[in-house]
Amino acid sequence: MSALTSLTLKAALDGLADKSFSSEELTKAHVDVVAAAKPLNAYILETPEKAIEMAKASDARRAKGEAGALDGAPLGIKDLFCTEGVRSTACSNILGNFVPTYESTVTANLWRDGAVMLGKLNLDEFAMGSSNETSAFGPVVNPWRSEGSNAKLTPGGSSGGSAAAVAADLCLGATATDTGGSIRQPAAFTGTVGIKPTYGRCSRWGVVAFASSLDQAGPIAKTVEDAAILLKSMSGHDPKDSTSLDIETPDYPSFVGKSVKGLRVGIPKEYRVDGMPPEIEKLWEQGIAWLKEAGCEIVEVSLPHTKYALPAYYIVAPAEASSNLARYDGMRFGLRENGGNLTETYENTRAAGFGAEVKRRILIGTYVLSAGYYDAYYVKALKVRRRIADDFDQAFQKVDALLTPTAPSAAFGLGENADDPVAMYLNDIFTVTVNLAGLPGMSIPAGVDANGLPLGLQLIGKALDEGTLFSLGGAIEKAADFKTKPAKWW
């Protein structure tokens, strides 16, 4: 039943509403394609029985006229979200067979609205990575391939499983998280839509912590409208997360398709970086032209501290990570590797349980927080962070949103950047500023490169103004008319 899996979330919800098919049929179709997509390694845990059970319950609710906003829609869940009774690993050996006795708020919101869980999706270990290669379960393979090549490409990271699953029609939409670009870069690499909302929109409760002042959940979806439907369900105030914003969630889907006439869109000149492939430059120009045609006013703006965002991030994020990951001590949950004494047990547990990239970041974080370096590195980075946020404040006095490329390249080969951490970090050059400032950012598929690989454009909005991003994203989506899907090889 590939017809059912190729539907958008919106079309599937309409089909469920007018009884064209049941959730059980829709879910079964997805369960089957998921089971047959092992070469992609997108799902690290499939929950077919649970899915069918949830689908049957959804059909029963619908029959009684009690269907919620997502009722019966099968989704994939990034394995950074704790799911009650279902193994949650953050793709780290240190969590091993951790089975949460609680449900993350974001996933609980999805189930409250009737969604169905297909399984848990692969990611970089603790969401630390840009290629999904740091996962303890091995990398996800991008469903897209370069024309005339069988080489395996990365789906991006850290939400590589989420992006690949959506691109390959292995779910109608997926949860993801974004600390430095982990929703938007994979979305760009896979021809999908991803939005990181304003910091505080989605509760972080029950999401395995990486860098708490930067982490935000959001959806990866097939269309802008699907992303709006999902984000509306995922968002909302949660007293269990002290940084969760106590404000009403707007009706995001109503912003999609709204006229963007008269909106002022800024083009930050500092995003024209050296060595940017001409195709990305061209796509950016194309995006500007589309928005002009749709009636937007294009304004050049300056974000002078852009080039310092990544180095500042690589102090702030590892510092917070080293603190957050201190909880993995082998005592209360997860892996324990015994040593001769307590300290040795801690050290052996963490040496065996964490992968190389996670260790690297814990060491950097510990170093920049250690006595003698705290002011020179950590406090300095927090001050630069303020400068970056101030740049955006200035720009948003003149414009309603910003348009940039999402990533500095199309999907690259697995293994290509594995030996050079800094080269890998540069993947997030256009996305990381948004996390530091706490702003919403969205990636929309806008075209393909010479090898037929998808490229994305990024929209950055004012704090709490996801609505404008959905309107502008809808306009770009309509103009780009990006309908290409990866040819099925798996």
Binding site: L214, Y346, I362
Partner: protein, 95 residues
């Protein structure tokens, strides 16, 4: 800023991660590479800039000081590597 093997040994100890002696040099080189790249932050004039500790300018909310959760030791212990009679079992701490 060059990070040497001795610094890596010290930081790894602080972070409670066992790093074998023969890996310290390679790690030192890697971390030096990253920290050298980070050094460019020194170019930014941050005189008089308040450090930004949170992405949202809100004061943390207060709540009533009452118990909202708990009373379920089986749940708390369900993922523990080792338990006895409702307790976590950890390696001997005091001789």
């Amino acid at each position: 800023m060059a990070i040497d093997a001795a610094t890596v040994r010290k930081v790894a100890r602080l972070a409670r991660i066992a790093e074998p002696e023969d890996k310290l040099e390679a790690l030192a080189k890697e971390l030096t590479g990253i920290m050298t790249w980070i050094e460019q932050l020194g170019e930014v004039d941050t005189d008089g800039v308040e450090p930004m500790t949170s992405a949202v300018a809100v004061t943390l909310p207060m709540r009533e000081d009452v118990v909202t959760d708990g009373g379920d030791p089986a749940k708390v212990l369900s993922n523990a590597p080792k338990t006895v009679d409702g307790f976590f079992v950890v390696p001997k701490v005091v001789e």
